[in-house]
Amino acid sequence: MVKRWFLRFSVMIRAPPLVKGIGIGQSAAVIAPPPISEPPLVVLEGIVKRFGAFTANDHVTLTVREGEIHALLGENGAGKSTLVKILFGLLQPDEGIIRWQGKIVSMADPDAARQLGIAMVFQHFSLFENLSVLENIALGLSGRMADPVLARETADLARRYGLALDLAAPVWSLSAGERQRIEIVRCLLQKPKLLVLDEPTSVLTPQEAEALFITLEKLVADGASVLFISHKLDEVRRLCSAATILRGGKRVAHADPRQESTRSLAALMVGSDVEDVRRQASANPQAALRLRIDGLSVMPSEVHGVALKAITLDVAAGEIVAIAGVAGGGQKELFAAISGEEGHITAGRILLSGADITRQGINERRHLGAAFVPEERLGQATLPRASLSDNLVLSLPRRESASAAGWLNGGTLDAILSAIIKRFDVRGSARNPEARRLSGGNLQKYVIGREILRNPVLLVVNQPTWGVDAAATQHIRKALIDLAEAGAAVLVISQDLEEVFAIADRIAAICNGELSEAFPAGHITREDIGLMMTAGERTHPQAKHHPESADHAA
């Protein structure tokens, strides 16, 4: 087995690079026959994939031509990931065929896909934190060592495509954007004909995303093709020359995104019945302060966690404050510090309605009227194998969920669950299923509903709509806005800039464990936020950006 692998790669290395083989720019046009007669690079025809009674892909067809950046558009749960996993050999279709350059192929496993020339950058990186960039790249390429030869090859490639990388740096010290570059370089070293990127910009600042687009355009100019999976329409319109749109597991359209408007693409993607929720900004300077964080510094509890540095933030009653930032900026640590779950506070204090809660545990904070929705729906907000009614126990006051002797109050739990299901439209296969049996959107509605029904004075939410379908997203955003209008203070931590602008009264950005000042939403632009999201590298982010944002507003 090992020998086979090694042989394959040694052949690959000796053979002329495939990308060059296709030809750079014009030379391809000289060799290649007219594009009409050329079969597309890859065609997925009539793909059907069922998981039990659920049909994830229902006769989906996808065609990617040579030298194009093709968008696969769709809401979360539309079947994009399933389709791509089939293309990459991670799943086998129940029906349908795959043609590669006109020939029917079977993608038995990712190896088969790689051999044909498909490379994929996943949403979640598979990197070893304690190894260097070069070592990680070598590990991803069987038969290669982290030696000067690979280093030179990698450096050349990185330079050619404008992917700045310090090969000696340990991965734990890198930002999400840099980590993604490792994955991309690792793919490009395999000289792919088709590069698949799954939601690549979800971990990037707007500026980093733009740099990625330039890389991809260079790659396409060299003759490769890109399949770009996204639900962000602006990006797709900026980058892609063709788009396949999925909804509910079916292909609803094939479009040229440059000819379409964002609105028409959105209508195709989500169906027309989803209204856009938007907050009417309503600043009330007299409102009482609910949450006050004052110079809070926290040592991380995980080895490669982010240390929080002198965080200062106020949230008043009736106000929604959002914290933007790319993943790994310290959001998780900040949430844990405010909720009291973990983290070693070294300086500063946290006040809830004026009471000092810095040293209190999560249940004492709940007792004072705070409520928390963590990032992980399964495994943190809920026990995957416990029923929904049992899962209420996690955040309900002890005296409500259990008798003095410690017996669970089945009746009370059941009544509360009914109220949540009714008000937040939680749909499951059974009335009281195990948490893991609910879809992401329904589980998130349950988790948010569980906290909102407790009528908190402060709600802290980390990534409220991450991986949630459009309808549930709007439902959740509306619930957050309603809660603020009813007088609660709401703090939302989100990586989704669109969400941040849709619901927040004030916006701050977190990066490297530092939090910027919170600016009124109407007074700053996405670009300002983008800069603030990388501001940790600069000395005085606030001083630098405040005047700028004022200019934009003016």
Binding site: A108, L383, V393, G406
Partner: protein, 352 residues
């Protein structure tokens, strides 16, 4: 060509409950092959191992007797394993329980009074709790792996018992044999039926199973245990104190193992000896998992396991098969069960 395990989307309840039964049958089949390869008739072996123990009165009584300590210990272990805490030192907790209870019997030798037996039981429970608390405290305070400490304490417990029965607790009239005095009638756990050998330990075991079933499914404490074991981050989010859960699980587990120990020396052996357990504490680990860590399952599993032990004793006499074959069957059973579980949750696919 290669084999692949792909997770199943949905596993039916029925399949989950049929798995252990199927595993048992497969283990029997393989066991039959082993017996056949040793030159004996598998059918005769089946008679001796399974049929006779289940049809003859004396054998059923022996099964109940052997199942008693297994049940008590395994029920206790289920608390730890549900909370993802690996107490594999139940053997030592059993021994210390027997030693502490037995020591009370030896010290009160010649006295009378209804308080002696309850005091013995309490001493046994307290002893088991005390030694089980050590791994829990070490884990909570210093982050030491409870797997190692609980296992190593088994040897400490065994050697302590061995030393004491050869020294301070030895019967001075026993011609230097390493054993204590025979316990008085007041220090003996009474039999359930006159003339029978099955003692009250069995009732304690069944009672513990019923209580455990309620605790784990209907109480806040049970929920905290499940949360700690299944999703530690959720337990933290729920504000449950992980250390408290760890300590309590070890205390319950140690206490029940200790109770099993004192019940064994008092109800069955009748004195202290250098060795009071044929490895009940370790066999109970298999029992706990065979019973899927659920109280009803563990009750059933402890009887099945006891049956194998009795069958092995029978086979030694009737078929001249070595007693160690029981261990082979235990291993087979656990192996088949784990394999069956993997195949219940996943399906086997023939890859290219």
């Amino acid at each position: 060509m290669r084999l692949e395990l792909l997770p199943r989307e949905h596993v039916s309840r029925l399949r989950e409950w049929l798995t252990p039964i199927a595993a048992f049958c497969v283990a029997l089949l393989i066991g039959g092959v082993v017996v056949w390869m040793m030159g004996r008739s598998p059918v005769a072996a089946f008679n001796v191992y399974v049929r006779e123990p289940l049809t003859q009165g004396w054998a059923i009584q022996e099964i109940l007797l052997k199942a008693t300590p297994l049940l008590l210990i395994a029920i206790g272990l289920s608390y730890c394993y549900r909370a993802d805490r690996w107490n594999i030192g139940a053997e030592g907790q059993f021994v210390i329980g027997g030693l502490c209870g037995g020591a009370v019997a030896v010290v009160t030798h010649g006295m009378t009074g209804g308080w002696i037996l309850p005091l013995m039981l309490l001493a046994g429970i307290a002893g088991g709790m005390a030694i089980a608390a050590i791994p829990a405290v070490l884990r909570n305070r210093l982050g030491v792996s409870e797997i190692l400490t609980s296992l190593m304490l088994v040897y400490v417990a065994q050697l302590l018992l061995d030393y004491l029965v050869r020294g301070p607790l030895r019967d001075p009239t026993a011609f230097n044999l390493p054993q204590s005095v025979n316990f008085d009638a007041v220090a003996t756990l009474p039999a359930l039926f006159a003339g029978g050998r099955v003692h009250w330990g069995l009732v304690f075991g069944l009672l513990a199973a019923v209580v455990t079933w309620f605790v784990l499914s209907r109480t806040l404490f049970g929920f905290a245990i499940r949360a700690t074991g299944e999703a530690p981050r959720a337990a933290r989010f729920g504000g449950f104190d992980e250390r408290r859960v760890t300590l309590f699980c070890f205390l319950i587990s140690g206490g029940l193992a200790g109770l099993a120990g004192v019940a064994e020396v008092s109800g069955q052996i009748g004195q202290l000896q250098p060795s009071i357990s044929p490895g009940y504490g370790f066999t109970a680990i298999i029992v706990a998992f065979l019973g899927r860590l659920s109280a009803p399952g563990i009750v059933l599993a402890s009887f099945v396991m006891a049956m194998i032990l009795i069958g092995a004793e029978n086979a030694q006499i009737a078929l001249k098969l070595p007693l160690d074959l029981a261990r082979v069957f235990q291993g087979l059973l656990l192996f088949c069960l784990l394999g069956g579980e993997a195949l219940t949750r996943h399906r086997l696919v023939l890859g290219r």
